[in-house]
Symmetry: C2
Subunit: 460 residues, 2 copies
């Protein structure tokens, strides 16, 4: 059954790519109110793909409430194999904003093939990887049927915190009842190296607003006596993290769980060249952060803080001598196992309030959050995934962690009590969340084959 499906996927590979391009043309930027209709269009496209694959009960689930406007979930299932396990396949159809637009070599919503890659916003994160799921299901359905029961849930708010799906999982978890989840929203550790992600950092994303004067003031007339909210923000940020990357919030590191000696030892065997990472991936003169930890520890198992932008004041060309009345910093923290988003936010908020510079008022808001998670490698689903990817790539599958957050994985553990297989096919240079995002097309096809094999093993 799997072999026929794999042959079908190969024969139809070109069509699958054309379909993906059509999906990539829809600018489903979930954070942008002006794209709300595009986000829904992408949801309908996915629903149509699931219907065409032969899935049942395909429908959009609305997530808007009186308090918020949400983007719809796409649901489908096929549940006809009594006694066989049920796999919940998850993906997301929303994408990050494409800005800065002028750094794209081809327009972000006009998918373009170059050197075996497809370039577009969402190519790898996550439309391309989500579409692998749909196409693996289609390949199986059209060649003898599925080897397991499946449910599919695809969300449109992953890039904005996933509130809609989190609420749905919490309130209607019974509609997603399954034995394990499959998520393809991570990356391979290196080209050609089959990789399963077994841990993710959590996060809190916040806005820190500082108010000084009641109105914008002229810096000539008031400079020296009026509080400057950008200077205040700089002072606060400089106190949040020291120059060795250590975060200075009292109690911030309390209770964090360190990786096992075995896991740390395995990380040391991974093909990682720090100098190449610095020069080719990051491209900075030096790497930063806590120098007593390795780069993999710093990005996988240590919490961090980043500033993403500082809105307010004068940002046009030239000069304006204004002391703005207020300024903001968009600040996020990555969390590791043992940390709780709410508790971390409370410590951060209390610390910032305690160090608010003279003459300023600070206001800290949580925009969204996700819990850190670690998946046990000792279960039948991870073993099936490891074997499936190993067969497709002809190599031993490695276990890694991811530095980013996929909040839903934590919800699956907590609310549904099921393990998640994070089988991703992105590459380290795929420019996730950045200009010139791409997906290596060979990995799109290998991903489909890996999923077909994985489902076959789970149902065997």
């Amino acid at each position: 059954m799997s072999e026929l499906a794999i042959r079908f996927a190969k024969a139809n590979g070109a069509r699958f790519v054309e379909e993906l391009k059509a999906l990539l043309r829809i600018p489903s930027v979930s954070t942008a109110p002006e794209h709300v209709d595009d986000v829904r269009k992408a949801a309908e496209f996915v629903a149509e793909g699931l219907r065409a694959a032969g899935l049942e009960n395909v429908r959009l689930i609305e997530t808007s409430t009186a308090e918020r406007t949400g983007h719809p979930l796409v649901y489908a299932d096929w549940l006809h194999l009594e006694g066989k396990p049920t796999v919940l396949l998850y993906g997301h159809y929303d994408v990050q904003p494409a800005e800065p637009l002028d750094e794209w070599k081809s327009p972000p919503f006009e998918p373009t093939e170059r050197d075996g890659n497809i370039y577009a916003r969402g190519a790898v994160d996550d439309k391309g990887q989500m579409w692998m799921h749909v196409k693996a299901l289609e390949s199986l359905m059209k060649n003898g049927g599925l080897p397991v029961n499946v449910r599919v849930i695809v969300e449109g708010e992953e890039e904005v915190g996933g509130e809609g799906i989190a609420t749905f999982v919490r309130e209607h978890g019974d509609q997603l009842k399954a034995d394990a989840a499959l998520v393809s929203d991570t990356e391979m550790f290196a080209p050609e190296l089959p990789t399963l992600c077994v841990g993710l950092r959590g996060m809190i994303y916040t806005e820190l607003e500082v108010k000084g004067a009641a109105t914008d003031l002229h810096s000539g007339m008031y400079g020296g006596a009026a509080p400057n909210p950008f200077v205040a923000l700089a002072q606060i940020i400089a106190k949040l993290k020291d120059e060795d990357g250590h975060i200075s919030i009292p109690g911030f590191y309390d209770g964090i769980e360190v990786p096992t000696a075995e896991e740390l030892a395995a990380w040391k065997t991974l093909p990682f060249n720090e100098e190449e990472y610095r020069s080719h991936e990051v491209g900075s003169t030096e790497l930063t952060g806590e120098s007593q930890y390795s780069v993999l520890e710093r990005t996988w198992s240590r919490p961090t803080m980043d500033v993403h932008g500082m809105p307010g004041g004068f940002i046009g060309a030239g000069a304006k001598t204004v002391i703005p009345a207020k300024a903001m910093a968009k600040i996020s923290f990555r969390l590791v196992p043992g940390m709780k988003p709410e508790a971390t936010f409370a410590k951060y908020k209390a610390f910032v309030e305690s160090i608010a510079p003279k003459g300023t008022q600070v206001n800290v808001r949580m925009i969204h959050s996700g819990e850190p998670i670690v998946v046990s490698t000792d279960n039948v689903y991870i073993r099936a995934a490891k074997a499936a990817m190993g067969e497709v790539f002809g190599k031993e599958t490695v276990f890694v962690r991811g530095g980013g957050s996929i909040p839903i994985v934590g919800d699956f553990v907590r609310e549904l009590g099921i393990p998640t297989v994070m089988m991703g096919f992105g590459l380290p240079d795929d420019n996730l969340h950045a200009p010139n995002e791409k997906f290596h097309l060979a990995n799109f096809h290998r991903g489909i084959e890996s999923i077909v094999r994985f489902l076959g093993k789970v149902g065997a």
Copy 2:
């Protein structure tokens, strides 16, 4: 002669205001390339006003060169009284950007009268005050002629550093030969209190750019190892100025001249209420800055640093988990007598380069600069101005300094060797450079009368 002119000005006051409104409707924002034609339109409007007043040799002087696009100067003169002094009248017809637009109660380029004020960008800075000059000259010319020789020079780049006029003064100073200059671009210390400004801070306006990674990165994947340019900027800014407002650049305060004991004593007699200044003008919970100096010293005779905006990264609504490749801070310093812009910039640049955080590259650019100046109060022109304003307001005129920069005043001293009378009619709550800029109409009319009287006394 003066009395007739004053009567004429009063009879024509309503027309003068309507003309000013027409000028205020022209969005002559000198820093905005899209407004280059509007800036020229404003120049032509001023030239037409000078012609109508009866001035001679009215013309636009182009300031563009191979290296830069400049805005024109407007020149006029009337030089028929041999043996009498020549007064050079200076003003500017360009304005600051109007952003943030949503904070204006009436649109910035639709002048609106409310409660005896005229609201518009440029109302007081400096179109309204410059138009007082033109109308004072018209009132005299149409009522017996001028009592002195005059030259008029009006620039369109005051808000962007005044490079065009600075070059013109340096290279063609002979065309502006005069005995004293009159500038109305300052404010009164308090409503109803005639005020002459006899000192101004200088400034340097800079852009500090920090580069980290070669491209924007995902903060989940790279957070903890990749340099964050906003965090780096925060660390730099926090090191430039301590929490008591003291600037930490080595040698920054070297050679600064402190006010005389007499000047400091006079400042103490001014009607200044720190609590009212804090609550009504600044509107912050506390004032900031060097606590060992009075507020007037902090804003008039102490150098300062301000951050005006921090372009780069993600500033939209919601969340984007990006580590931007670069970020910038717009930073200016106010300078006091004894400091030189070039030398201060060099110290700042060297210090910033010496503290550039690990993994980052800093690039410091000077956008524009102006020298600090102090005018002697012991000359015939200041005495005439003091008497003229005293007569109009029925009160003793006070001497103050200004915290802002009018670079041209330094050029007049240095290049033309003449003293400048800074006779301003703005009020402390006129919202200079901020939303809802206004000009108190009573002061517009009193300004015209004061200038008529001043010229009369100089020519007596």
